[in-house]
Amino acid sequence: MARYILKRFSLMIVTLLVIITATFFLMHSLPGTPLKNEEKLSPELRAQILEQYGLDKPAYVQYFKFVGHLVQGDLGKSLNYDGREVTDMLMQGFGPSLLIGSQALLFGVLIGLILGVLAALKRNTWLDSLATGASIMGVSIPSFVLAALLAYFVGVKLGWLPATGYDTYSATIMPSFALSFAVIAQISRYVRTEMVEVLEQDYMRTAKAKGINRFAILVRHALRNALIPAITVMGPLAVNIITGSLVVEGIFAIPGMGKMFVESILNNDYTVIMGTTIFYSVLIVVTLFIVDLLYGIIDPRIRITGAKE
């Protein structure tokens, strides 16, 4: 097990290094310079600013400097908002994004689980159709469409919840809900498939042949085996929520990382783009790593064989 963790951990570090390098050089090959109102600057001033940001040095020098600072948690300064530290901006944006994202995740996983399990148990009934319908709707209606419609109808027309802003807790409900839609779809579909497969396994018949009652069989034998593989959706789910947050935060004017990222792209704010990309990647890579470890701990087939090595 220890060896497996170590192997998995080093793979994670390599992945991160590749991502950082790729992002850096990709940003560097972009056409144009990231300076505002470039045409209006005199050549001297332009050179001065480039020097100030270290942009006049060769790419590899900039790269090593960048990595050196990165290790110390320094992602440089925003090119757009004069002098603001990217790290500070990320920290500020992370709070709202985390709150909304985790609410969406919790709600979505809960509802998705219930729907998925019920659909598998009542296969080919109206309940199954309902769950399938819900999951297909969740996949078919993009979060930004849902968010825009919610903002208009619930926020503006009905006025039940604030349509924009991040001042009160109630303002987080609609964006969380808009994000959770896709989570419900993904989880319910996955859990249903797993559950249907588990229900057809031979060991379910063995359990039934012992005279155990339906509910106990469901909890002790079916759910456990169906939910272990479901842990692996956590990675894609995190990706899903991040993707959604890029637009949903914009629509509801939430001052989160997603909104910041989109603005930085439109402003060619390279340091912020790089910083956010790296932050997102770390988030995903670490999530995938933890999911892998969890899987190993929960599934005895991996845990024990791993320990023997």
Partner: protein, 309 residues
């Protein structure tokens, strides 16, 4: 018992064995494709999906011929009309352009981008997956590490970074989407190739001196075609989604060009004034995504022999 009934002696004439065939299935052999089609036909959702795709496809091509406007002419005297008058079936947008024309033109552009992206997906995915699976060993290991790294960065971030490198336009969007979309395709192909490679008939073909290329073409490709078709049907809605997403955050096509994403983005801006600007393109987009997902589900059930019951 039976002796009570009367039988004529001629019934007891020996006729001998009729079925002299060696061990073989008695059930009428239905071709794989015919069998799949029979099962697909039973799936009402999939048929509905197919119907909707056809309807929207036809409207995208012939819809613009139905009224007398075109997609780009402005008429500021009739801005933001939300009722169907003078042949403006969907009303007009903020610049007085006919929304019916714009929606179907936009749907055509979105579909074109999606098909283009998926076409590139298949070419890249099949090539890389095929190489990885067929040659195995070191080649496979390197490719798989590479894929693992790509997999741990959210697709959208890769797409955004790539699109920043290129001139905005249909090709740029399609290429960026394809750059991440090929990964699942290659995994499917690799898995299938690995599975088939170890099977005896490939070994037999090899001992008979068949070349790599011949084996790939004759034996492997026919077997991977099913899973590829399924993956394609799921890739199309995902490409439609990414196009809309990119246009929504301002990285895709720019107005006055139209795609479903551009229209939704514009509609979102004028939501408060005239929600129909958002609702029409959003509905077409959602129906398209829904329809392709239903077809994909139906195909998966029809082509996946594990589900055969």
């Amino acid at each position: 018992m039976s002796t009570e009934k009367t039988y004529t002696p001629d019934l007891f004439e020996p006729i001998g064995q009729l079925d002299k065939r060696a061990e073989q299935l008695n059930r009428k052999q239905v071709g794989v494709w015919k069998d799949a089609w029979l099962r697909f036909k039973q799936n009402k959702g999939a048929l509905l999906g197919l119907f909707l795709v056809l309807v929207i496809g036809l409207l995208a091509i012939f819809g613009p011929l139905i009224n007398d406007y075109d997609w780009s002419s402005q008429n500021v005297t009739i801005k933001n009309q939300d009722t169907a008058v003078d042949g403006h079936y969907f009303g007009t947008d903020h610049a007085g352009r006919d929304l019916w024309q714009r929606v179907w033109y936009g749907a055509k552009v979105s579909l074109m981008i999606a098909f283009l992206a998926v076409f590139l997906d298949v070419i890249i995915g099949v090539t890389i997956g095929g190489i990885s699976g067929y040659f195995g060993g070191r080649v496979d290991a390197v490719i798989q590490r590479f894929i693992e790294i790509i997999y741990s960065i959210p697709n959208l971030i890769i797409i955004i970074l790539l699109i920043m490198l290129m001139e905005p336009g249909i090709w740029a969007i399609a290429i960026s989407i394809a750059m991440t979309g090929w990964v699942p395709m290659s995994r499917i192909v690799r898995a299938q190739v690995l599975k088939l490679r170890s099977q005896e008939y490939v070994l037999a073909a090899r001992t008979l001196g068949a070349s790599h290329k011949r084996i790939l073409l004759k034996h492997l490709i026919p077997n991977v075609i099913g899973p590829i078709i399924i993956a394609v049907t799921f890739s199309i809605p995902s490409a439609i989604f990414f196009e809309a997403f990119l246009s929504f955050i301002g990285l895709g096509l720019r107005p006055p060009e139209a795609s479903l994403g551009v229209l939704i983005s514009e509609g979102n801006g004028f939501m408060q004034l005239s929600p129909h600007n958002l609702i029409w393109p959003a509905t077409v987009l959602s129906i398209l995504m829904f329809a392709f997902n239903m077809i994909g589900d139906g195909l998966r059930d029809a082509l996946d022999p594990r589900m055969k019951k």
